[in-house]
Symmetry: D2
Subunit: 109 residues, 4 copies
C-alpha cells in the first residue's frame, strides 16, 4: 500500500461527504419523511465510485408553524466507508459544537 | 371562489415544482436507487403547504462508465395536486421537446 | 387578457421563486461573498423564461466559529417580476414570522 | 509533517470539490451569467475552512430553445488549493472522457 493510495482514498471520502451535504441540505422534512429521505440519501451515495457502505441518520427536526422543517447540516449523522485500491477509509459527518463536522475516523489497508 | 384564490393556488403549484426540481436535480442515481429517490421526493414535497397529492416517476437513466447517472430534469415525470382555499390545481412536470416543461393541467373549485 | 393567462403567469412566478430558493440555499456565505452571490442569483434567474426583473438581497448572516454561514431561506429578500402573454406578476420571497414566505404582491395586464 | 496531516488535507480538498459540485449543478446559466456564477462559486468556496485559492471556469454551454442551459458537472473546470497544518493540496475538477473527474494534482509540505 502506498501513501499516495491512502491519500486518494481520503480525498474520495471527502468528496462523498461534500456531495451528500450539499445535494440534500434544504430538503423539506418532517417526522413522516425522515425514513424515506435517509434511505434515499444512502442509496444515492452508494452509487458513487468507491463507496462500500454508508449509514445516514437524521435527528433534531424543529418543525415550523406549518409542520415541517428543512434538512440542515447539523441534523445529519453519517458514517461512510470508502474503499479504493485496497485502502479503507471510515469517515463521519456529525454535529460538534453546533458545526456539521466532517472527519476521518479510521484508515486501514 | 374568487379569481384571486385561483391565482394563489397556481402560484403555490409553481413553487412546489420549482422546489422539487432544484432540490433534487444532480442526485446520483442508478436503477437500484430510482425507487427510493422517487419515494423520498414525494414524501418531502408532501410536507409543503397546500400539497394534497404527488406522484413522481424517474425515467431515462443513461449510466456513465461507473454505472450511475445524475438526476436530470428531463428524467422527471411529476403529477402534483395543490389545494388552497377550496381551489384545486393539478400541475405536471414532463419532458417536452427535450425541455423539462412545467404546466397547469387543470383548475377546479 | 384571459383569466387563464393570469393564472399561468402566477404559476410561472411561483416556479421561479421555488427554483431560486432550492438551488441556492446551503451556499457557504460571508460578508465578503454576499454581493457576488446576490448578483449570481439575479443573473441566473433572469435566464429563465418570462422573468423580466429580479432583485435579491441577503441579510442576517450569523457566521459560525469559522467565520462563515450558509445561505438560509429567511436571509433572502427577493422581488421578482414575471411577464407572460401580457400579464405582469410581482412576487416576493420575504421572511415573515420566521418563515421564508413567498407571495404575490401584484397582478396587472 | 506527518502522513496523517497529509491525509486530512486531501480529505478537506475532496470535501470542497463535492460541495461545489452539488451546490451549484443545476443553476440556470447563459453566456450573460457565466462570469457572475464563476465569481460567486469562487467566493463561496473561499469561505470554507482551509481553502487558500480557487479558480473556476465554466465552458461548453448548450443553450436550449429558450436561450439558457443548466450548469452541468462537465462544464466545470476548477483548480483548488487547500492548506491545512502546513500541507498544501492542489486538486482539480475537470471533464475526462465525458465524466466530471475530481483528482489530486499535487501535495506538498
Amino acid at each position: 500500500m502506498t501513501i499516495e493510495q491512502e491519500m486518494e482514498a481520503c480525498f474520495e471520502a471527502g468528496i462523498k461527504l461534500g456531495v451528500l451535504y450539499h445535494q440534500f441540505v434544504g430538503t423539506p422534512i418532517s417526522a413522516d419523511s425522515v425514513n424515506s429521505l435517509e434511505t434515499a440519501i444512502e442509496d444515492s451515495i452508494m452509487n458513487q465510485r468507491y463507496v462500500s457502505d454508508i449509514h445516514v441518520e437524521i435527528e433534531g427536526l424543529e418543525p415550523n408553524q406549518y409542520g415541517y422543517d428543512e434538512l440542515g447540516g447539523t441534523m445529519l449523522d453519517v458514517e461512510l466507508v470508502v474503499m479504493k485500491d485496497g485502502v479503507t477509509v471510515e469517515a463521519v459527518l456529525r454535529e460538534e459544537d453546533g458545526y456539521p463536522l466532517m472527519s476521518i475516523e479510521n484508515i486501514s489497508s
